[in-house]
Subunit: 735 residues, 2 copies
């Protein structure tokens, strides 16, 4: 039944697609035909079973940064690259990395409970009982020994503290407990600290990450009561990498900040715990019942506190400078050796990391193996390939950031693109990055077959976009689209330095959506877990190798680099429309809310038994002048139309450097307000979302945080960047 | 702080409101002034402490229909009416009412568990351990002794079975377990039976009714693990009242149906249980994990089954004909004794029923006491007042339905209005009913002060409507309104016969919103619960007495009856707009979904590990001819405009009978398709919602259930009713 269905799909999809849809941006028809043959040969070298073996081998021991296992993994990778015929080396930086010395969490009132802070070994998971595991902790927590009443703060986001204020609850001098989710974890202690809390506990609620979602490990894939999400709480939205060496490579002799002065490190202790450890603490809370949206899936009524429940949190760390071993492999280009196609995935894990990061790294290594084989058979890329396995990604993108900072000028000169991955699973193509590469991504995805459905990975992803759309109208809109939109990049993986600090055009790929589970950053992210719940046949490992590998090869071999600036224009135009709507909505909502406050509607409606204050009135939102941005966009519209219609210049390889350095025009050398490391005017991780992107971040965050002068300044800065780009692109237009 | 705030509000609200807003529909300015004096004297007679005493007395023993306690309550009420100077009697009908003989629920595989089926007495609740309580059961369950695999069916609604079909799960020959909520409980076994299930268990999930919502009884108001919601599962949407005597009064000698032929009784056994009893059963289920929207707050993964979990359900009942004692009290009108203002609230409870129904009944009795006192002081109403305390409401509106059926012709001739209540609590005014009375309700609510905030109950409810609105636009729209819209009546209380069977204009009042809890239909609906969590000062009891009492008095004393048919037109016009949008949405959504199915989008996106079939394609939705309805509305628009602008006829009391009998023109003598008892063309309980209203039900349900021929027939039937009304109203317009 399944087979017949797939065949039928395959035939009809094939018939309509073949005629017109095989164009390859940057390639003549002849060049495209031979490139496709190359890709077919590349694909023949890929082996799902070899990917599985790689995952098993590289996840066989705990291998966090600076561990013996980590060193061994780096050396294993080095040998693999060499055996594939690449010119490879280990490039080591010296970075700060704290490991736990002491971890104590106990409830001292109204009853006592001492948290286990330990994930048990399971007989169903062969590596779960190994020596050398990092204990459950949040890297970059401050040392601390605090005792205080406990307050539940939901996800610990700014809006949660607005509610607490309405409820008359002050966290100053308290220890807060926040749920994992809704933001990057590092936001939670940062916002807690901003509000005066003296300690922060983060736990995985079974509603978000546990039995509510499905059967728990080892019966099923989801988080069992003892599972803990480790992770960094460095304030990466200020800058990532070694906190002591912002903007420069953490070489042995680099000038370092005093740790206590590093602006992206917390002042309060933070600890992640399981829901087994969180339950007694939460159950002991009194005070008001938490609002409905705050409640999780533990079997009792969620209260906010503070009250009788008091906890003692004691943490200390070993703050050492440690080695960070990146593995860098090169295959020199024949025609343009000084134009680099950079590809990367990290190799360090919190523990065994079969999924995160090894499943992505295994696909990368499989690409390197295949390209190495093609190379042995005579193929040489037109441009130089640089394949990287990063160390220290987990604590804060340490390896990639230090390497990128160390090679900043060279990368801005040579790097045509950076292509990232970071783990992989069964499901749908995820793609994010520079929007001038959106057409390329669509063409690559169009030509790769999904392992389960036999349609293209593009068609499968498009079908998902359609079904996920909320309304009939949105479904129709998605259905009428030719391709997919790639997402904008926030942070949380190694592309940040390349795109957001250096302006290197970047992409990130990975498959997911049918690989849900609770293993993330726990000891259960193991090979045993991976083969049961992530990508049992490793066929999506092959799909990732194809996706990233074809992209690498198309960029590396194209005579004319496959950038499509029209897509960039369309995307930015969409962002600016969003921003004008955001400002209008905020103005109207603020006016309405102020009226409701003034007319006492909140007091009239609030249950007098709940003692909830009305929201504070806010300053009216002014009309904002978006015209500098709109005028800049008109210029970009015009020039990108001219480029699209000028076929002659569009085929001129002499202009390639303009094509790949165009992204750098979008950098603002001053950086974003209060976080100068982030220089891209279009893409940044959100100041209060963390991993989650804010597009046109300078303008968007100024509006969201109601800083009107800054919004106007940032509109000018972004408009200047767009105007710079427009002018820079002029040679491509023939004007 | 609170005091100063209230004073400020009071002053400014008073200043703007006083000038223009004291008009009283149906009254000249002079008449209005003296009516207001009367209302002020009425208010002075109301005593919150006396309401509290009444609640305590009448809820002091279990008093379900046909119990000794029930008889005693009826006699107590009779004596109260008599002591207040009313002409009162007990009017008894003979109705079928089943009580449990045997109740067994046990899991037999994969482990064993015998359900407790018992709510424990609590020391904090003085009446919770009394003799004479009805055990936990669903009245009108069939007798049965069944053993079968268990299947979890979410809320047990038609859409849940659509999902089960996609998951390949068939409930034929199975016992289903459904959550309380989202529909009236009787829908769940009905739909289960339609799908071939042989038994049905209904449980209260702590997500909907338990610790998720707040602290549980007796610490807090919410349902503890042992609490059970009793209740009727008669298929009341076919007809309510004694199932053996549809359309006629259940007098001793009435012709009765054979019980097994009664079309509104189930064929399968049904039992309500606590979450303590449900948890082992649900936890034992295997099969697919339930979709996210199905999952509750019990601390494990919800599965659907069927599989190893098997249960045995054995129920038998004592199917006796029993007495049903309504108490009917009259105060004869001076000018129009044959025009009746009818007011009612039931007196029977599932157990003690302090909230449901006694808190509403106590307000009604307080009104009768106050009017009796005014009567002793010389006041006589212009029209006859008929105050009713109904028996047997809980099992299926037995007392009110039998009385209404028994007096159908007299009520259609004399009843100007029926004003219902059914319990009461702290919070916001709820008002539903005939939309020609919407203006009256607004004017009554405008003149009553909310006990907590000191603004009018109208202003407080309006503020709530504003804050509850989802979007800025909807908030603004609500804010710009002059008054509130009253809701349309579904079912679930004693107004059904009056409005939906006889076309007597009806209203239902009650306060709620700050009285949430889990006592409903359990032994914990007690005085001890009421004074802690419902209306501790009984001030909302007084507010209900004022609301219903003023409404009674304004209708009873008005020279010209206060109907505003313009509001009726506006409301129906809104319903017809909804229906045209519903048809358009359904047509577009169906076309789109069919396209998605045809193009295999669901197969492409469905996780192959989940084995979920795509939805079935549906027949295309045709364009529907709404013009008969639209033309009828144009006529009603024109006539109601003419009535509103004709001040002379508007003041003509000779036309009063047209005013109150106008509602009868909206009856369709054929009744709704497959449920002829329901004759109103605008309001009915939904066939698959139960209590929840369906407006313009013949048309709406035909569209929702995709019966296009029936939709066209019903459009004609409703248009005919509206045309009848338009013609009937003509004398009021002067045309």
């Amino acid at each position: 039944m399944r087979t017949r269905f797939l065949l039928a799909l395959c035939l009809c999809a094939g018939a309509t697609a073949r005629a017109q849809d095989k164009k390859m941006l940057g390639y003549t028809d002849n060049e495209a035909a031979s490139q496709q043959q190359l890709e077919a040969r590349f694909d023949q070298q890929l082996s799902s079973s070899h990917i599985g073996e790689t995952i098993k081998t590289l996840s066989s021991r705990p291998h966090h940064i600076s561990s013996a296992g980590g060193k061994a993994v780096a050396e294993d990778i080095l040998q693999r690259f060499k055996s594939y015929g690449w010119d490879a080396e280990i490039v080591t930086y010296q970075v700060l990395f704290p490991t736990p010395k002491e971890r104590v969490l106990e409830m001292t009132s109204p009853t006592t409970y001492k948290a286990l802070l330990k994930e048990p070994a399971l007989k169903e998971d062969a590596t779960s009982g190994q020596e050398g595991q990092l204990p459950t902790y949040n890297a970059w927590s401050a040392d601390g020994d605090v005792s205080a009443p406990l307050v539940f703060v939901n996800y610990g986001l700014p809006e949660d503290y607005e509610y607490l204020e309405r409820a008359g609850i002050d966290v100053r001098g308290k220890i807060v407990i926040a749920k994992y989710g809704r933001s990057w974890r590092g936001i939670k202690p940062k916002v807690a600290q901003e509000h005066g809390a003296i300690g922060c506990i983060i736990y995985s609620d079974p509603k978000d990450d546990g039995y509510f979602n499905g059967d728990v490990y080892p019966q099923g894939a989801f988080k069992n009561e003892y599972g803990v999400q480790r992770g960094s709480v460095m304030d990466m939205v200020i800058y990532p990498g070694d906190p002591l060496t912002p903007n420069i490579g953490a070489t042995a002799n680099a000038k370092r900040l005093d740790r206590l002065q590093a602006p992206n490190l917390l002042k309060i202790p933070v600890l992640p715990i399981s829901y087994h450890d969180a339950a007694p603490l939460l159950k002991a809370l009194d005070g008001p019942v938490a609002p409905e949206a705050w409640r999780g899936a533990l079997p009792f009524t969620y209260h906010i506190g503070p009250g009788k429940a008091k906890v003692h949190l004691k943490l200390s760390f070993d703050w050492q400078i440690r080695p960070c071993h990146n593995v860098i492999a090169k295959l020199k280009g024949t025609e343009e050796p000084d134009q680099w196609v950079v590809r990367g995935n990290h190799h360090d894990a919190w523990v065994n990391g079969a999924s995160d990061p090894i499943s992505g790294l295994a696909a990368l290594l499989e690409e390197a193996k295949a390209i190495g084989q093609l190379s042995k058979e005579g193929f040489k890329p037109r441009r130089t390939l640089v394949y990287c396995a990063w160390d220290g990604e987990e604590p804060g993108l340490l390896g990639s950031t230090e390497w990128a900072e160390d090679h900043a000028a060279e990368l801005q000169e040579k790097a045509v693109v950076y292509i990232n991955s970071d783990g992989n699973g069964r499901g749908f193509l995820g793609a994010s990055g520079s929007h001038a590469l959106e057409t390329l991504v669509n063409q690559v995805a169009r030509d790769i077959t999904d392992p389960q459905t036999n349609v293209s990975i593009l068609a499968r992803r498009q079908a998902s976009d359609v079904l996920k759309a909320a309304t009939t109208r949105q479904k129709k809109e998605k259905l009428s689209r030719q391709g997919i939109n790639i997402s904008a990049m926030g942070s949380g993986s190694d592309y940040s330095s390349f795109l957001q600090h250096l302006g290197v055009p970047s992409l990130d790929f990975g498959f997911s959506g049918e690989d849900a589970g609770g293993e993330y950053h726990s000891i259960y992210d193991s090979y045993d877990d991976y083969v049961r719940f992530k990508d049992p046949t490793f066929s999506y490992g092959v799909a990732l190798s194809k996706t990233a590998g074809h992209t690498v090869l198309r960029i590396a071999n194209s005579v004319v680099l496959p950038f499509d600036f029209r897509k960039l224009y369309e995307t930015v135009n969409g962002y600016v429309s969003e921003l004008t709507e955001l400002a209008t909505d905020l103005r109207e909502t603020t006016a309405l809310e102020n009226q409701l406050v003034k007319e006492n509607k909140y007091q009239l409606v609030t249950d007098t038994a709940k003692h909830l204050l009305p929201p504070a009135a806010k300053a009216p939102v002014p009309y904002i002048d978006f015209s500098p941005l709109q005028n800049a966009l008109a210029g970009l519209d015009s020039i990108t139309q001219a480029i699209s219609s000028n076929k002659q210049l569009a085929g001129n390889p002499a202009l390639n450097k303009i094509r790949y350095q165009a992204e750098q025009q979008l950098l603002n050398e001053k950086g974003l307000p209060s976080r100068a490391w982030y220089k891209h005017t279009l893409y940044a991780p959100g100041f209060y979302t963390g991993y989650g992107v804010k597009t046109v971040p300078g303008v968007r965050e100024a509006i969201e945080q109601r800083r009107w002068t800054e919004a106007a300044e940032q509109i000018d800065a972004v408009a200047a960047a767009i105007n710079r780009l427009t002018k820079y692109l002029q040679p491509l237009s023939g004007r």
